[in-house]
Amino acid sequence: MHPIRKKRLTIVLFLLVGLAIAVGLTTYALRQNINLFYDPTQISAGEAPVDVRIRAGGMVEEGSVLRDPDSLMVEFKVTDFNASVPVQYTGILPDLFAEGQGVVAMGRLNESGRFVADQVLAKHDENYMPPEVADALEKASKGRHAASGSAETVSY
C-alpha cells in the first residue's frame, strides 16, 4: 500500500478505536447511572420504580421534620401540595435545608413507599428554587385547579 495511504489508514483506525471505546463506555455507563426525576404526585401514584436510584423533589412540608435524638437519622415529608412522600435520611443536611423550602433528594424508594435518601440537596440562596421542584409545583397546582375547577389562587 502507498505509505501515505497506509499512514492515513492507521490514523483513521486509531480514531475509530478511540471513538468506539468512548461510545461503548459512555453508553454502558449512561445505562447504569442515569437518575430520573419524580415528583411527589408521581411517586404516590406508584409511577416511580421501587429500589432504583432516582431523584425526588418538592417542598419540605411544614412541621414534618422529625429528628432521631440518638443518631443522625431524620425524617421529613416532601410535598407538591398535592401529594406528599415520606423521606428518610441519615447524615448531615445542607445548611439551607428548612421546612417550607425546596429540596431535591437522591435515593431509592422502598417497598413501603418510603423514600430512603442518600443525598439531600437544598437551594443555594434565598431566591433560588430547583427547576425540577418549580416544575413539579406548577404541575401539581394546575392539576388541582383542573380537579377542583375553582379559581382559588395558591400562594407559596
Binding site: 478511540g18 459512555t26 449512561l30 447504569q32 426525576f37 445548611d95 440562596d125
Partner: protein
C-alpha cells in the same frame, strides 16, 4: 453621575471594537498599510474604555452606591472592603464585565507582544479578537448592563453578597479562570487569521503556542482554585462533583491540553495542521459553551446566575455564529494546506496523536454527560441527571491510559522510533514503577485495583520523566552542566508532566483511602477516624464582622498526642439570615484533617462530619506545577530569537507557496 459614565465607556468600547473588527481586516485584505496601522491603537482604545467602565463599577462598590441595581443586589455597607472589591465580579453583570476586561487585556497583550509578527497577520488576529469583543460588548450592553439604576427609590442598604462568595477563593478564582477561558480566544484568533490568509505553517504554530500555553496555565490555576474553594467552603470536603459548571471549565482545559500538544507537533514537524486549527476553534467554542451554560440559567448550580431567557438566547446565538462561521471558513480554507513531512507509524508524532485522541475522547465524554440531560429536558423527554458514578467510571480509564501513554511517549523520537529499542528502554522504569506503587499501596493499607492503576500511572509518568531528564542531562562536563543545557521549554514540559502525575496520585489516593464519618456528638465525646481520635471539647459563640457564629473546639489526637485543635463554625449572616458552615482543616502535605459541624440535633448534641484526607493537597499542588510549567515554557529564549528570525524566513517562504500568499489578494 459616574455610573452613566461607565455605561458610556462601554458603548464607546463597543464602537471601537466594531472598528477594530473591520478596519485592520479590510486593510490586510486590500493591502493598505494605513488601515492596518489602526489595529494596535484600536486595541488599546477598547482596553482603555473597558478598563474605565470596570473602574467605575469598582468605585460604585467601594463607595456603597446602592442606586446602582447591581451594587444593591450584591453588596452591603457592612461588607468588609476586600469583599466589596471582589463583589464586583460576584454576580452576572460584573463577572461579565471582568470577562470582557480580560478579553480586552489579552487583545492589548497581543498588540504589544507581537511586534515582530508580519503586519498582515497581526491585523487579522486583532480584528478577529475585535469581533469577539463586539460579541461580548453587545451582550453586556443589550442584556446585562451593570450600571442600571434604582432611581428614584434608592435602597438604604444592599441585599448583601451571597455568604458562600464571601471568601478569599472568590477573590482569586474567577479572574484566573476567566484569564484561561478568554485566553483561548487568542489561539482561536490566530487560527482564524491563518485560515484567512492561508498561512498554516510552522511559524503560525510557533506564534500561537505561547499564547495557548499561558491561557492553559491560567485555566489550570483557575480550576484548581475553584476545586480548593469548594473543598473548604461548600463541599463538605468534596473537591470535584462533576457539576455541569465544573465540567464547563474542564472542557476547554481538556481540548486546550490537546491543542498544546498538537501545536507542538505542528511547530516541530509541520504536520497535523488542519487538526490543530480545528482544535483551536473547538477549544474556544467550548469556552463559549461554558459561558452559555453558566449564564443562561439552564443549569442549577452554585455558579449559575439568575435565569433570563434573553441572555441564554443571545449567548447561544453568539456560540452558533462563532462555530458556524469558523467551521465554514475551515471547510473552505483548510484543504489549501498540504503536508510535506512524513512520519512512521511508531513515532513521537503518533504518540502525540494518541494523546489527542484520548483527550478528545475525554472531552466528548464530558460533553455528552453534561449536555445529555439538558437536551432531553429541552425536548421534554424527561428529567434526569447524570451523576458522579458515570464520570468516574468513564473518565478514570482515559486518565490512566493518558498517563501510561505519556510515560512511553517521553522516550519516543520524532519521525521514527524503533519499537524494540523503546520496549527495552521502558523495562527499568516499568519495574521501578511497579515496585514503588506496591510500596505506596501497602503503606496506605490495602490493594484496590483502581488505586493501583491510578498510582501506577502517576508513578510511571514520574519515573519516565526523571529518567529522561537524567539521560538528557548526561554531559562530559558534568551533570550540572548537562542540566543547565536543557531549554526552559523542556523544563516546562517536565514540570507540567510531573504536575499531572502529582494531581493523579492525589486524586487516586484521596478517593480510595480517604475516610469520612458523620457522627452525632455531645461535648466530651470521642470519635475515631482511621488512626485519629477527635475529642469534642465544647461549643462557644463569637461575633464576626457581619455574622454571629457558634464554634466547636476539637482536639485531634494521634497515638495519645495532640496533633492540633480545630474550631469549625456555624455562621448566621445578619443581612440575609442565611446559615453557613465553615469547616476547620488541619492541612498537611500528606494528609488533611477536616472537621465541620452540621445542624444541632438536641440541645446538647450536634451532627459532626470528620474526615481524613490523604494527599488531598496534591490535587492542587499538581495544578501549581502544571501552571508553573506553562509559564516556564513560554519564557524559553527560542521564542524571542526565532520570532526575530521569522520575519526574515517568512519573506522567503512566501515564494514557494504562491497559492496561499496570493489567496488573500484574490479573495479581496
Amino acid at each position: 453621575m459616574y455610573p452613566e459614565l461607565g455605561q458610556l465607556a462601554l458603548i464607546l468600547a463597543l464602537l471601537l471594537a466594531v472598528l477594530l473588527s473591520v478596519v485592520p481586516l479590510a486593510g490586510s485584505l486590500t493591502g493598505r498599510n494605513n488601515l492596518q496601522a489602526f489595529a494596535r491603537p484600536l486595541a488599546s482604545g477598547v482596553f482603555v474604555f473597558v478598563g474605565l467602565a470596570f473602574a467605575v463599577l469598582t468605585h460604585a462598590f467601594v463607595t456603597d452606591d446602592f442606586s446602582v441595581a447591581y451594587v444593591a443586589n450584591n453588596s452591603n455597607s457592612l461588607l468588609p472592603w476586600y469583599y466589596k472589591f471582589s463583589a464586583v465580579w460576584g454576580g452576572h453583570e460584573g463577572s461579565l464585565l471582568l470577562w470582557i476586561l480580560m478579553l480586552a487585556g489579552w487583545t492589548l497583550a497581543v498588540a504589544i507582544f507581537s511586534r515582530r509578527l508580519p503586519a498582515v497577520m497581526i491585523s487579522q488576529v486583532l480584528s478577529v479578537l475585535g469581533m469577539v469583543c463586539v460579541g461580548f460588548l453587545l451582550f453586556i450592553v443589550i442584556t446585562s448592563n451593570p450600571f442600571d439604576r434604582l432611581l428614584p427609590n434608592v435602597p438604604a442598604d444592599g441585599a448583601d453578597l451571597n455568604p458562600l462568595l464571601q471568601d478569599f477563593g472568590l477573590i482569586v478564582h474567577p479572574p484566573m479562570l476567566y484569564m484561561g477561558y478568554v485566553g483561548f480566544a487568542v489561539a482561536f484568533a490566530f487560527a482564524i487569521a491563518a485560515l484567512i490568509n492561508g498561512r498554516l505553517d510552522a511559524a503560525w504554530a510557533r506564534w500561537s503556542r505561547p499564547w495557548t500555553t499561558v491561557a492553559w496555565a491560567f485555566l489550570s490555576l483557575g480550576i484548581a482554585l475553584g476545586s480548593w474553594w469548594a473543598y473548604y467552603e461548600l463541599g463538605w470536603g468534596g473537591w470535584w462533583f462533576w457539576d455541569p459548571v465544573e465540567n464547563a471549565s474542564l472542557l476547554p482545559w481538556l481540548s486546550g491540553t490537546a491543542l498544546m500538544h498538537s501545536l507542538a507537533v505542528t511547530e516541530k514537524r509541520g504536520v497535523f495542521k488542519s487538526w490543530t486549527v480545528l482544535l483551536a476553534i473547538v477549544t474556544f467554542s467550548l469556552s463559549l459553551l461554558g459561558a452559555f451554560l453558566v449564564r443562561s440559567g439552564v443549569l442549577t448550580s452554585v455558579h449559575s446566575f439568575a435565569a433570563d431567557p434573553e441572555r441564554g438566547t443571545f449567548l447561544l446565538g453568539l456560540l452558533a455564529v462563532t462555530v458556524i462561521a469558523s467551521l465554514a471558513l475551515y471547510a473552505f480554507r483548510a484543504p489549501v494546506v498540504h503536508v510535506r513531512s512524513r512520519y512512521g507509524s511508531f513515532s513521537r508524532e503518533v504518540f502525540l496523536l494518541l494523546n489527542n485522541v484520548l483527550l478528545v475522547s475525554a472531552t466528548i465524554l464530558v460533553v455528552v454527560g453534561t449536555l445529555y440531560p439538558l437536551v432531553l429536558d429541552y425536548l421534554e423527554l424527561g428529567k434526569l441527571s447524570i451523576g458522579e458514578p458515570f464520570f468516574n467510571l468513564t473518565f478514570s480509564p482515559l486518565a490512566v491510559a493518558t498517563g501510561l501513554l505519556l510515560g512511553a511517549g517521553i522516550f519516543s523520537r520524532w519521525k521514527k522510533t524503533d519499537g524494540g529499542w523503546l520496549a527495552r528502554k521502558l523495562l527499568w522504569p516499568l519495574a521501578i514503577s511497579i515496585v514503588a506503587t506496591t510500596a505506596v499501596l501497602i503503606g496506605y493499607g490495602g490493594f484496590k485495583p483502581w488505586a493501583f492503576l491510578g498510582v501506577f500511572s502517576a508513578m510511571w509518568v514520574t519515573v519516565a520523566t526523571f529518567w529522561d531528564l537524567w539521560e538528557k542531562s548526561s554531559s562530559r562536563k558534568g551533570r550540572l552542566h548537562g542540566l543547565k543545557r536543557q531549554s526552559r521549554s523542556y523544563y516546562g514540559m517536565v514540570l507540567g508532566h510531573l504536575g499531572l502525575a502529582i494531581t493523579m496520585a492525589g486524586a487516586t489516593v484521596v478517593s480510595n483511602y480517604g475516610i469520612e464519618r458523620d457522627v452525632r456528638m455531645v461535648p466530651g465525646d470521642v470519635a475515631t477516624v482511621g488512626d485519629y481520635h477527635f475529642v469534642f471539647r465544647d461549643i462557644g459563640a463569637r461575633q464576626g464582622a457581619n455574622f454571629t457564629a457558634q464554634y466547636g473546639t476539637f482536639d485531634v489526637m494521634l497515638d495519645g498526642e495532640r496533633v492540633s485543635v480545630l474550631h469549625p463554625e456555624k455562621r448566621q449572616y445578619s443581612v440575609g439570615m442565611s446559615v453557613m458552615t465553615e469547616a476547620d482543616i488541619d492541612a498537611g502535605l500528606f494528609r488533611d484533617i477536616f472537621v465541620a459541624i452540621g445542624e444541632r440535633i438536641t440541645d446538647e448534641a450536634w451532627a459532626i462530619r470528620l474526615q481524613y484526607k490523604p494527599l488531598v493537597r496534591w490535587l492542587w499542588l499538581g495544578s501549581l506545577f502544571m501552571a508553573a510549567g506553562g509559564f516556564l515554557a513560554i519564557a524559553d529564549r527560542r521564542y524571542r530569537i526565532r520570532e526575530g528570525a521569522d520575519t526574515k524566513v517568512q519573506t522567503d517562504t512566501v515564494a514557494p507557496e504562491p497559492g496561499s500568499a496570493t489567496s488573500a489578494g484574490v479573495t479581496s
